[in-house]
Structure formats: C-alpha cells, structure tokens
C-alpha cells in the first residue's frame, strides 16, 4: 500500500514540476494575438557573468541599451531617425550567454518560443554561435550575431535566418599581417602567443598563413599556446626573451592580455619585440599608460579610436560616453552596427506598412549595404548574410599631456583587401595566397 502511495506522490511531484512551468505558457497564449501597437521584442544575448563579461558582454549590452533608447526616442541621426523600428518602439530582453551549449540553446529556444521575440541579437562565443545557428534555422527565427568571429558559420552551411553584420575573424589576422609587413619591411622572425582554444588557434593559423604569403622569408620562431585564463605567464615570457623575433602576435583578450602585459613589462619584453594585439583596442582604456607605446593595436575592425570620423560615430561615442563615463570599445560598436543594420532591414521590409515577418526581414537584410558608427558594412559573403568592412590597425601611444590613449600611424585596409571574395572559404583563400585581394 505504502508503495502505491509513493507512486502517486511521484506522479504528483512530476505534475508539480510541469505545473511550475505552466504560468509562463499562459503568458505565451495571452500574447499570441499581438495588437498593432505592441512593441517589437528583441532578445539581446551577451555575457553578463564570467570572464568575458567585463571586456565584451557588458560593453555589448550597454551599446544595445543606449542605441535602443536613442532609437525609441527618435534621436538617432538620419536615416536611423524613425522612432524604434519603423515607428514601433523596441523592447529588449537581456539574457546571459554564460553556461554550456545546452544552456545557451535552451535559452535561445525560450526567447523565441516562450518570449516570442521578433529577433535575437547577440552571442560572443563562436562555439555558441555555431550551436545556435542550426536552431535558429529550424525555428525560422531571425538572428543577428554581433561579436563571434569564426568564419565557419556561413562556410559550413547556407543560412536563411542567420546574419552577421560584423566581419569574421580572418580579417583581424590578415589586417595585422599587412600592417606588420608594411611597417617592418625587413622582418625576419616573428613569434606568437595565443590562448589554447578555438579563437587563439584560428587567429594564429590565419596570421601565420597571411605572413607566409606577405613575407615568405620571415620565420615563425616561438609558437606558444598557454591554456585559457592561465593567469601566470612567467615561463612564456622567458621563452620569448630568448627569441630573436622582432614581433609578437597575440589574440589574447582582457584578463589574459592585461596580465600578460603587466608581466612582460616587469621584464621588459616589449623593449625587445613589438607586440601586435589584435583585440588590444578593448583594453586601452583600462591599461592606459601600462600599454607599451609602440604596440600595434587592432580592434576587430574600424571601431573605437580606429572608427571613421563620421556623424554616426560622433553621435554614438557621445551618447555612450555620456551615459557610461567611458568611451565605447569594439563590442559596443559591433552591437550598434548590428542593431542599425537590423533596423534598416526591418524598415525596408515594412515599407508596405504591415508588420513584416522573419522571412521578409531576412530578404531585406540580405545583401544590404549600410553606414553606421564604424563606417560602411556590406553584406556580401555567405550569400548576403555575412558583412564585410574595412579594417584599421595603428600604433599605440599614451598621450601624457592629455593623459589619454592614442592610436597613431593608422593604416586602413579596404574590405576587399582583408576579406575573402564571396564563395571562397577563408582558410583556403589564405592558403592559396589571398588571390583577388583588392588593396
């Protein structure tokens, strides 16, 4: 008898667990017949906890917050001056990207199916982008990736509902190699220190590939891959001190970049070789005079101090700095650029007046060209789903008079110079000698 009761109790427990999720379901039903004036809902996914929060997640989130506020108030410069998206206000739901791929995919489904968002904008980790893309396709949910770098997203499969306005990471390494070769014509040896995970491995592979094309006589000396978030780089610095390389490539970011810079500076490594930091721009406002003068700085595209001097940039960096007391870094720019692109696509699709569906917005976004705070984005790769932009590299200097970081000696590389042409995979393009690059 007792056991039958146990079984009943278990059934009750199971029912309770399901019931706990039901209120959310009613919410869904209540919202399905959306009235015309209902706001457009966006899901914004970004790291709000963990090590990637401070350098990327929070600046990205802040960029979204400030841009959406300005859009809803209708204060953005033309052609972005319509209120919200096509006259309808935009509401954002912010979600943490932290957790396993299972968590990220579950949260994505929740956004699309439970919260019924009209589009999802977000994702910093390339792994998460790769995990989310097929789900977005399956659910026919319009999704715009804003920061993740891997070119595989559109190379592995054609996507219908997934977009990425920010260029993929190949551009960062190719741009770094072009700048290095232009500034150090007689380079004979270079080394690399990159984190031992996909981002670091891909960055180094692209960089060494581009160097083999651009400076075939120069040799790669020390190739170091410390574990991600290693914290202590004493042995790496010693190894590099024994090298005769003139330049050191690194795609380190935030914590590892800053820790490495402090530790190498205590031992004077930057006096012996020039450091090329492909994500350095996101750290200059914290490192300030601790970033060695002469470091070659990239910002994953023309963002921050490397951004073009246009009206959108002035507007964006002003509203951002006024609100958060620190200038926007590249993740903020990438987010702003992605949101503005989505807004234009939405308005193009809504030209008829009715609220456009995901297919219509996707059709309008495909192949779009638009200009924002970081200049012109052309959606030309991945069958019109992947954007390309020009990129810029420069040399770091701390302006002691103004007490402000400065990037001088900036070189700009046109989009077609540092991105593969449509239809060719990035890896293959570099291996084949970067044919068709228009510089």
């Amino acid at each position: 008898m007792a056991h039958r009761r146990t079984a009943t109790l278990w059934s009750l427990a199971g029912l309770a667990a399901v019931a706990a999720m039901v209120p959310a379901q009613f919410e869904v039903f209540a919202q399905t017949p959306a009235p015309a004036a209902a706001p457009i809902k966006l899901g914004i996914v970004s790291f709000l906890s963990g090590p990637a929060a401070s350098p990327f997640g929070i600046p990205g989130r802040n960029g979204a917050e400030i841009v959406l506020e300005a859009l809803n108030a209708g204060t953005a410069p033309a052609p972005y001056n319509k209120v919200g998206f096509g006259g309808t206000k935009v509401e954002a739901k912010y979600v943490d990207e932290a957790g396993s791929a299972a968590n990220v995919v579950t949260d994505f489904r929740n956004l699309v199916q439970r919260d019924q968002v009209d589009a999802v904008v977000g994702y910093i980790s390339s792994g998460n982008c790769l995990a989310v893309a097929p789900v977005a396709e399956e659910l026919k949910a319009l999704t715009v990736f804003y920061d993740c770098g891997t070119p595989r997203i559109f190379e592995e499969k054609a996507r219908a509902y997934v977009f990425r306005a920010s260029p993929h990471a190949t551009m960062d390494s190719v741009g770094a190699a072009r700048y290095l070769v232009a500034k150090k014509k007689n380079i004979t040896s270079y080394s690399g220190i990159n984190q031992n995970y996909a981002w670091g491995q891909d960055s180094w592979r692209d960089f060494i590939g581009a160097m083999k094309v651009l400076a075939p006589k120069a040799e790669a000396d020390k190739i170091l891959f410390p574990k991600l978030f290693a914290g202590e780089f004493g042995a790496e610095v010693s190894t590099l001190l024994t090298s005769k390389s003139q330049a050191l490539h690194t795609s380190f970011w935030d914590g590892d970049l800053e820790g490495f810079i402090y530790q190498e500076q205590a031992r004077g490594l930057d006096k012996r070789m020039t450091i090329i930091a492909t994500t350095g721009e996101s750290s200059i406002w914290r490192l300030r005079d601790k970033m060695p003068d002469g470091t070659i700085i990239g910002g994953r595209g023309p963002h921050g101090p490397l951004a073009p001097d246009n009206a959108f940039n002035k507007w964006f960096s002003k509203i951002y700095t006024d609100r958060y007391n620190v200038p926007p870094t590249y993740p903020s720019y990438q987010m702003a650029q992605s949101l503005l692109g989505l807004k234009l696509a939405y308005e193009k699709a809504a030209a008829g007046g009715a609220k456009p569906n995901a297919d219509q917005i996707a059709a309008a976004f495909k192949g779009l060209t638009f200009t924002g705070p970081s200049g012109e984005t052309k959606m030309v790769l991945g069958d019109g789903h992947q954007g390309i932009q020009e990129t810029a590299y420069g040399t770091y200097r701390f302006n002691k008079a103004k007490k402000e970081p400065e990037i001088v000696d900036v070189m700009r590389f046109p989009a077609e110079c540092v991105n593969p042409p449509p239809g060719i995979d990035a890896d293959k393009w570099i291996a084949d000698g970067m044919k068709g690059a228009k510089c």
Binding site: H3, R4, A101, A102, D107, L130, A131
Partner: protein, 316 residues
C-alpha cells in the same frame, strides 16, 4: 507487490509525460528532453553514490557519448537515432570498463579526483584537435528514426519520446539492479567494505560493475543530449559539467530511481527560471537552492516523498 506498485506508478508517469508532448510548447519539450537526457548521467551517479563514491569526472562519459554520435554522423552520414544512442552508450561503456580496472581501486575523494583528471585529459585532447573545431565544437547531423526524418516540432517530439523510452528502460534495469544481491550490497560496502569482503565477495568487482553501469548511462545521456542540442563541444568534458551533474544528484537524493528524473527536470526548470528572472544572479540562486536542499532535505528531493509518507503513516 511492492515493485509492481512502483512499476505501475512509473508507467503511469511515463505515459502521462509522453502524451503531454503535443500539448506543451516546443521550448518546454526541448528543455524536458535535455533534462531527461542529463537525468541518465545523474542516475549513473546515484548508482555510484549508493556505495559512497562520487565522480567529479562523469562528464567524461557524457562527452564520449555525445562525440560518438556527432563523429559517426560526420564521418559516415549514419543518422539513425536509436542506433546512435546505443553506440554512445556502448562506446562510453567500453571506456568505463577499461578505466574501471584502475578506478575500482580508489575510494572517497581519490576516486573523485582521478575521475576528474581523466575527464580533463579528454577535454585537453579535444581542445587540441583543431580539425574538430577545438572549443567551438561542431554540429550534429539531424537524427532520423528508422528512415523517418521529422523536422521542427515533430523532431523535438520524437527526440523527447526516444529519451523517455531510453529513460524508462534504464530506470527499470537500474531498479532491478538495486534489488539484486550486488545492488543490495551497496549500503554494506558504503558502511564497511572489509566486512563485505570477509563474506567472500569482491568489493572491487562490484564497484567495477557500478563504474561500467554509470559509464553506459553517462554515454546514453550524452548521446541523447547531443542530438537534442544539435551541437557538441569539449566543454561537455569540462569539470564544471561534472559538477553540475553532482549538483543534481544531491538535489535529487539517492533514495529513488525516479528522483533522478524529477531532480534533473527541476534543476533545468530552475536554471532556466533563474537566468530569465535574475540574469545577473543566477549562480547565487542555484547555489542557495543547493545549500537549502542540503541543510533541510539532506536526502534530496526524494526524501520529500518519504517524509510525506511517514507523516501520513503517523496520522491515522
């Protein structure tokens, strides 16, 4: 009589869960699929916990199961879901059987630490394998069911049903094992294994069996999870993944087989809720729930049932 009652109860629960799928929103079905897939790993940990062993490296088998499915699809194009799930289970089982010779000699925290080291070595190997996308991982081919290739909501329903089916069989077999002599020896081994050995029983043999059972369950769970998520990455072998499974095991308690499933569902629902409502404080929410469970429900959610039962028994 006893086992028949709980069998009937479990069957009723299973049928109710299976029938509910078409009436639930899709996101809930997916969440439940992942929860029930992970529950298999938790069930494996329950098997170990009954002899007082905890593995901080159960993600090893989870990851092997997942990669077995993903790699088979990638290399051969074979996508039959049921066969792939069995493959994941067998693959993880073989690995468990071989390292079991080593692990069966270890107890307490040393068992936990050695399993942790082994899973971290697999993590390192996968991170080093750039052809498989390193930490970015790669996607899993869409599974088919005996030639039938559903899409969209249909696919999630079929995966859900498959997961429920595997769960049901696993629960049944583990339930039978718990009632067998070897299963019943768990508590005596936990209390004092020398006495058990004096009875002429090989304790390390029994523990080896349990390691294999837990490994197979871990592999099955990983295989199902991989198909449901549609993506695999080395993070599946990282120690925090193992930590999450141990978390759910404590939440559920080791008293009942069904507790693993309800506990896993409760955990996924809780995490999803916490991320939704308190995006910046979800870790705190999870931690607090775990603490409160340990302090006030030391035997896990399962003990809620026995407590209620006792209370009823006392009150006429």
């Amino acid at each position: 009589m006893q086992s028949r009652a709980s069998l009937l109860g479990g069957l009723a629960l299973l049928v109710a869960a299976a029938l509910a799928a078409p009436f639930l929103p899709d996101w809930m079905v997916s969440l439940a699929t992942i929860a029930f897939a992970n529950a298999l790993v938790v069930l494996g940990l329950v098997v170990l916990w009954r002899v007082g062993l905890v593995s901080f490296g159960q993600a090893l088998y989870y990851c092997i199961g997942a990669y077995a499915v993903a790699l088979t699809g990638r290399w051969t194009g074979f996508t039959d879901a049921l066969a792939l799930v069995l493959l994941g289970g067998v693959g993880a089982g073989i690995v468990a059987a071989s390292i079991g010779f080593l692990l069966a000699r270890y107890r307490e925290i040393f068992f936990a630490m050695l399993s942790l080291a082994l899973s971290m070595i697999l993590y390192g190997v996968l991170v080093k394998t750039e052809s498989l996308g390193s930490t970015d991982g790669f996607s899993v081919a869409t599974p088919t069911f005996f030639g039938y290739a559903p899409h969209g909501a249909q696919l999630s329903h079929w995966l859900y049903w498959l997961t429920l089916g595997v769960d049901a069989i696993a629960a049944l077999l583990v339930g039978l094992y718990f009632r067998s002599v070897a299963g019943a020896l768990a508590a005596p081994i936990r209390d004092n294994e020398i006495r058990v050995e004096f009875l002429g029983i090989s304790v390390s043999g029994i523990i080896h069996t349990k390691v294999i059972i837990a490994g197979v369950l871990g592999g099955l769970g990983g295989a199902l999870a991989a198909m449901s998520i549609g993506h695999v990455d080395p993070n599946m072998a990282y120690w925090t993944t193992s930590g999450g499974f141990v978390f759910v095991t404590v939440l559920a308690g080791s008293g009942y087989v069904a507790a693993a499933f309800v506990g896993s569902l409760a955990f996924e629902a809780l995490r999803s809720f916490a991320v939704d409502v308190m995006p910046q404080l979800w870790q705190m929410t999870l931690g607090s729930v775990l603490l409160l469970t340990i302090l006030f429900l030391p035997e896990g959610l399962g003990s809620l049932v026995s407590r209620l039962r006792q209370r009823r028994a006392v009150k006429p």
